[in-house]
């Protein structure tokens, strides 16, 4: 993989980033309603003062340039809804929580997914294959808003082994990360099984088998590296999705992550928070895919980026 390629990829990101800034900026502002429209009527004089406070009385083009200027300085502006906080502060508070939840979930997903998929591929068309794969289908079908409350009911309310909600102790992390990781584990197990089955047909595996290596050696030393490629390529979008799409899990378990801000801000027309979270997500997705490409090249000698 050449350095030129990496730099090229990064160079593409810059114009795309500004395109996203522009699109989100104007889209959210053209949506009906605004951050100050409220159930109680606000007198025009008060509305004017509120708008002046947030520079919303200036022409849109100037507001846009103003935003770009602040953005270049790393300043995402004050939140409209959370009056005593800046968007930078909100992200600094919520992003670590989302990252932790996301990484824990992904760890579960990888652990469960690769084990189940590996098992299934090792003994295809036996109950070792059918049982985990049926669970995987179930995991793909069941949404988090079903899995979460069921886990809470069983382990939180009936057995009282784990907390039902919150984000303080390590115990609080178990159920939400399992809930969120479950669906991804299902995909990963299917991908692992598929990848491994395909590798099994390859010549080099036949050679390995002819050398007299045990099945588990073949799996661990030869098949996994190639067989996991589909999983790796899935990990990029999965990581981004798991960090950004945890809204339901965050709400069920009352976790102070970013997903809630992302949705709330759009509902509240909290322009600056919408911008901040969208840009952050864009960057995350880009970075994750970028990392996947690098890993891909490292793992598969056939892949070359020029």
């Amino acid at each position: 993989m050449s350095l030129k390629y990496l730099l090229g990829r990064l160079a593409v990101m810059v114009p795309v980033f500004f395109l996203v800034v522009t699109l989100v900026f104007f889209m959210i502002r053209f949506a009906p309603g605004g951050p100050f429209s409220s159930e109680k009527s606000v007198s025009p004089a008060i509305l004017k003062n509120l708008e002046a406070k947030y520079h919303m009385d200036e022409p849109l083009s100037r507001q846009y340039l103003h935003y770009l200027k602040d953005l270049l300085h790393g300043d995402l502006g004050p939140s409209f809804k959370h009056a005593n906080r800046t968007v930078n502060e909100i992200i600094a508070e919520a992003l670590p929580v989302s990252l932790e939840l996301g990484l824990l979930s992904l760890t579960w997903a990888l652990m469960i997914g690769i084990c189940a998929g590996g098992l299934a591929a090792l003994k295809p068309n036996t109950s070792w294959d059918y049982i985990p794969m049926s669970f995987a289908i179930l995991g793909i079908c069941l949404p988090t808003f079903v899995v979460g409350p069921v886990l809470v009911l069983v382990f939180g309310v009936w057995l009282q082994w784990l907390p039902v909600a919150g984000w303080e102790s390590w115990q609080d992390r178990v159920l939400p990360s399992l809930t969120l990781g479950f669906a991804y584990a299902a995909y990963i197990s299917r991908l692992t099984r598929g990848g491994l089955m395909e590798i099994r047909m390859q010549d080099f595996i036949r050679t390995a088998r002819a050398k007299g290596l045990s099945e588990s050696d073949i799996l661990l030393k030869h098949s996994l590296r190639g067989g996991l490629l589909p999983v790796i390529s899935y990990l990029g979008p999965a990581l981004a999705g798991i960090i950004t799409g945890a809204l339901v899990t965050e709400t069920i378990f009352n976790i102070p992550g970013l997903g809630r801000f992302f949705i709330e801000s759009a509902v509240n027309r909290d322009y600056t928070v919408v911008m901040g979270t969208s840009l952050l997500y864009f960057t995350l997705i880009f970075v994750c895919n970028f990392l996947v490409d690098i890993f891909y090249a490292l793992l598969d000698p056939r892949v070359k980026y020029v």
Partner: protein, 524 residues
């Protein structure tokens, strides 16, 4: 010597065991959504007000059982004969959480801040009762010394009102009229409500604020009534999902929930552990009728539509939370006002509705354009609208179309009067019928029906100047009668407060205003 050692050992161990086994006096409350801010002058929401009521204190406080005004920062007050001048005597031992005394100047600064156009407070109208308040807020008068506020001494505050306002004391419990600490506000500007900056004057102080996680209050040692305060701390958890709240309550992580999941109300009604709480609340669920839109501009059509709704059935089978059907607009019991039921309940109303529709020129609904009902996207509102759609069809042969809009779009549509019939709800700002009836006066920003009626306006203006409570209630009753004759609003039901309360909580009283000053609350 030996005996005394033994005794003191015993006493010591008793003390330790008491410390170890005593319930920590920390109350955990489910508090709905994440507060926007904790600035008494700029916030508008219920979760914010719940916290602010315990963080700050106004001139007057409320007895949680009787809801009558009791001394807050002011230990006593005098009202002039014409009911327009109030003289408050401020307690010498009223203190801010940094130890500063609370003075009359603090109130003058705070109320000027509330009314200052620069503060852009949505609740500024709560200061319009003060002489000159409205003009100052609207920028017509720039000089704040023109306001009816005077501080002859640090312990005396003189307030001159525009009109004799019999409910003025009740208003003072509202957070918009609480004092804020001048130097703190001026020094920290927008960030003054952060835990590291805030100075407050209530029974509790702000200790921790983690967004979407918890807001923790701690008992204030400086509060004048600190010996009365039994709780050491309070945790407010912003929990938006009623199901999550309910489960946290079941595992004893919460003492009080904000609400109960609708589909679980039936389950909790049967529970006899005494934790399920349900009581009337000062709020009305209703539909705005845009009187400028045909065919709703026809009074007869509006009346027919109003009569064709079976409110009893609606609350029993659709809303299902034990709400009361609204045969009037103002919730009963507000400021001792009990409006007379004006929409008949018996079977005669359907025949009457049919007759009215025929008079309007639409026999059996023939020729009547479809009635459009707008609501903000939510399952609960949808179910209610569907039930009404069906009642109109069955009882009158009238067709209705439903459409929903996302919250902010919905608000926009409502404010621009770009609808025919629209879902609405109103919760009292203060304990007086005026908070409901004033809304429908001509040109009021919240009058989304675009309705105007001179005799109605006159009644409300008269009530504002009337000192006798009985006469005021008569005026309000007349206003109600006009409303239910003209029907710019179509009342549906009176709200109920439904929540779970641990039996360990003491000193918590049910009341229509749903106020629970935590300085009276303790844990068993």
């Amino acid at each position: 010597m030996r005996r005394s050692t033994l005794l003191s050992c015993l006493a010591f161990s008793l003390g330790i065991s008491k410390l170890l086994f005593a319930t920590p006096q920390v109350l955990n409350i489910g508090n709905g959504s994440e507060p926007k801010d904790l600035d008494p002058h700029t916030v508008t929401g219920v979760p914010e007000s719940q916290i602010i009521q315990n963080l700050f204190e106004g001139l007057v406080s409320k007895d949680p059982q009787t809801l009558k005004p009791v001394g807050g920062v002011a230990e006593s007050w005098k009202v002039s004969k014409d009911g327009r001048t109030y003289i408050f005597k401020i307690r010498k031992n009223a203190k801010w959480s940094n130890g500063d005394p609370v003075t009359s100047q603090d109130f003058i600064f705070s109320w000027k801040r509330l009314l200052d156009p620069q503060t852009a407070s949505e609740y500024a109208y709560q200061g319009y009762y003060i002489r000159g308040g409205r003009d100052f807020n609207l920028g017509k008068v720039k000089d704040s010394s023109q306001l009816g506020l005077k501080a002859p001494s640090p312990e005396t505050l003189e307030v001159v009102l525009e009109n004799p306002t019999p409910y003025f004391l009740s208003l003072l419990y509202h957070h918009s009229l609480y004092p804020v600490h001048q130097t703190t506000v001026q020094k920290h500007q927008m960030r003054w409500t952060r835990p590291e900056n805030i100075v407050s004057n209530g029974p509790f102080t702000l200790q921790k604020w983690e967004m979407n996680k918890v807001i923790s209050l701690q008992k204030s040692p400086h509060h004048w009534d600190a010996p009365q305060v039994k709780l050491e701390g309070v945790n407010y958890y912003p929990i938006e999902k009623p199901e999550t709240e309910e489960k946290l309550f079941q595992v004893k992580k919460l003492h009080v929930t904000g609400t109960v999941p609708t589909e679980k109300i039936a389950y909790w009604t049967k529970d006899n552990s005494g934790v399920f709480r349900r009581h009337p609340y000062l709020g009305t669920y209703f539909y705005w009728m845009n009187v400028t839109r045909p065919p709703i501009n026809n009074k007869l059509v509006r009346k027919a539509l109003a009569l064709a709704i079976d409110r009893e059935k609606l609350v029993k089978f659709v809303v299902k939370g034990g709400q009361a059907p609204a045969e009037f607009f103002t919730p009963p019991g507000i400021g001792d006002f009990h409006p007379k039921a004006l929409l008949p309940k018996d079977g005669s109303r359907i025949a009457e509705a049919k007759k009215l529709l025929e008079q309007a020129g639409f026999p059996q609904g023939k020729g009547l354009p479809s009635i459009e009902i707008l609501y903000n996207t939510s399952d609960a509102h949808k179910k209610i609208a569907e039930a009404i759609q069906q009642m109109w069809k069955e009882n009158l042969g009238v067709q209705a179309t439903l459409y929903n809009q996302e919250w902010k779009v919905f608000l926009d549509t409502q404010h621009s009067h770009n609808y025919m019939v629209s879902r609405a709800g109103w919760i009292a700002d203060y304990n007086d019928p005026n908070t409901f009836l004033d809304m429908l006066t001509t040109g009021n920003g919240n009058n989304h029906a675009a309705w105007s009626n001179t005799s109605y306006d006159e009644l409300i203006a008269k009530a504002a100047k009337e000192k006798s409570p009985q006469k005021r209630n008569q005026l309000f009753q007349k206003a109600e009668e006009i409303l239910l004759e003209e029907l710019p609003v179509l009342p549906l039901y009176i709200y109920t407060r439904i929540y779970l309360l641990s039996t360990d909580v003491q000193g918590w009283y049910e009341n229509v205003e749903d106020v629970h000053p935590l300085k009276y609350v303790s844990l068993k």
